[in-house]
Symmetry: C2
Subunit: 360 residues, 2 copies
């Protein structure tokens, strides 16, 4: 097979070695006579996979002991409800920073459960910029401050994080594990797995233990973080395949050299594409404030919009998939998650330069 | 490989042919140059898989057009919250039938959201029996009536279903697709996939459309059924692998001859094991009322409890896994879900008779 360069915004490309391992073990796991998918989630075989994956999250992100790692389901979209449901006490409020499409969804759900103060709104700059992190302070009495670390649709990314008095809560779905996190500034982090962590179907939650004591009362078992924290995410049947694959992706990250190596690779890949954009004399345009351009999702348009189809067709002929921009913004988007090899970013940058020369 | 006979209560055995297909396609799907796990959930390839699986649910269960099929996450445990959150209006109540361990969990969560009338409690018969279905009526004003179609831990199963005035809601996690359902009696059915539908990580919900108009107001996007109904379960990233595998399991069911064939097989398998229990002159004991013995999960004890370890060791030597009873009840449990071949049930029945003869 000729492997495609996979620029989809998510579910994203996976390391080929991980896919091959999953393939090798799909029918029979470790001479058990059955697949891991078929064993009980209480079996010693699954237990090792489950706790192994949890341990790797802690190790790779250097989490202190007072943070719990949870494996949930429902994606960031479910966290948009779970966070306020658990932490937005009646009569109190939380601060939300509106950085774009995903932040808006988090805000809309939070408003169903309590009062929301939008302390930053990117609207006047078309959601193409973010505030200076040091300028972000929590309002008096805020239960938490919510940010979206990377907007996959807008292509904006926090490069450093606020240090707020109220616990900082972050949707890190699209850039978790792509760079180091100053974990001590965060109360809770959540992320759908399907960008940097593995296939879709698992939601990673990292929560500082003291927050668990602040949960509201009337929340059902699955929807309370403490349920999962107390049972190591084995309260009910976990998404076995998702956690198993996530563990393999984390092992791959570790083998690459961990977070330092992955961070350097991600910078290299993003630089290749941003430089292609900047080097073509306005042929391509990235609308995002240079201080907050995402390393994960690079959005760009062609000055000559009538070349869009030709650009896309040419990319697909070269085995580059998923470059079409999100339907709400048009143009193009190159998603360069952890498992995208440098060669993929280079192939795209080369094609962009070549296409600009031919059509400029 | 020698394939084990897999009696785990869940995640359960999967058809070998399905595991092999998943294996064959794991690294590359349909000459795409990537795995299905890596494609966008908005891609035509995934779309076909997603809607194909939905269509098979409708076809195999003969669902009328006014029922929607949803693919959610979080298992039945999350449904324990979602059902009352959406349908238990403030100041109103719902009826719950307490048939055992799983019903109790549903009741506990419902009480957080509204008022619950327990209209049947199996307690005095040790949760070893169920009411006559025709005797079940909804109380005046009940928003819905909740039952658990099969209790995996207790091993009791409704053989026919009530026809109530209020919409009937059922947790069918452990016997969905094992037999025909009189769908017209149900308002909503939910089921974790990991018994009869595929690997863990997907929750099937079947909902009668008119119920969607009765949802409560202040419920976050992921937690509203209508969100998923309106977007064909593509509101946010679905659990791609889970739905993909579920579709393959459903195709396998169809190839077996659909629900009639599967139902007949399940009866045959359960009969083999129950007959082994009954034929050994009290050596084995099944505590469940014969009118409500589950075809999915057969629980039994040995009269001579000191032989438990020897029985279990012998079963494992013969490649029979997962027979140990649930930690809350002890003894043994043989789970005979759809994908357990008749030979598996026969191997167990033969072993039971042989063991009884040797130790009786």
């Amino acid at each position: 097979m000729k492997r495609a360069h996979n620029f989809y915004a998510g579910p994203s490309t996976l390391p080929l070695s991980v896919l091959k391992e999953l393939q090798g073990e799909m029918v029979e796991y470790h001479n058990l006579g059955l697949s891991l998918l078929e064993t009980s989630h209480r079996s010693p075989e699954y237990d090792e996979v489950h706790h192994g994956a949890m341990h790797l999250v802690k190790e790779l992100l250097s989490l202190p002991d007072n943070y719990k790692v949870l494996f949930l389901q429902g994606g960031a979209t479910m966290q948009f409800s779970m966070v306020p449901m658990n932490f937005l006490a009646e009569g109190s409020h939380a601060d939300y920073l509106n950085s774009g499409a995903w932040a808006k969804k988090a805000i809309a759900d939070a408003r169903l459960y309590g009062s929301v103060e939008v302390t930053f709104d990117g609207k006047e700059k078309g959601y193409m910029s973010l505030p200076e992190p040091r300028s972000v302070v929590s309002t008096p009495g805020a239960q938490y401050v919510h940010i979206t670390s990377n907007e996959t649709i807008g292509g904006v990314q926090w490069k450093d994080f606020p240090a707020t008095e109220a616990p900082l809560v972050a949707d890190m779905s699209s850039d978790i594990l792509s760079r180091p996190i100053p974990i001590e500034r965060f109360g809770l982090i959540y992320a759908g797995a399907q960008k940097n962590l593995g296939p879709s179907g698992v939601t990673l939650v990292i929560v500082r233990e003291d927050l668990l004591t602040k949960e509201q009362g009337k929340v059902g078992a699955y929807l309370k973080y403490s349920t999962h924290a107390e049972s190591d995410s084995l309260y009910n049947t976990p998404p076995v395949f998702g956690i198993y694959a996530l563990g393999k992706v984390l092992s791959w990250v570790k083998a690459q050299g961990g977070l330092p190596a992955v961070t350097a690779n991600n910078r290299t890949k993003a630089d290749l594409v941003y430089r292609a954009i900047e080097s073509t004399d306005g042929f391509y345009h990235c609308p995002v404030d240079p201080s907050f351009r995402s390393d994960m999702n690079i959005v760009f348009t062609l000055r000559k919009g009538d070349l869009d189809k030709s650009f896309l067709d040419g990319s697909e002929e070269r085995g580059m998939l998923g470059l079409k921009g999100h339907r709400s913004v048009g143009g193009f988007r190159a998603s360069l998650y952890n498992a995208m090899p440098i060669e993929g970013a280079k192939a795209l940058a080369d094609y962009m330069v070549e296409f600009a020369q031919k059509n400029g």
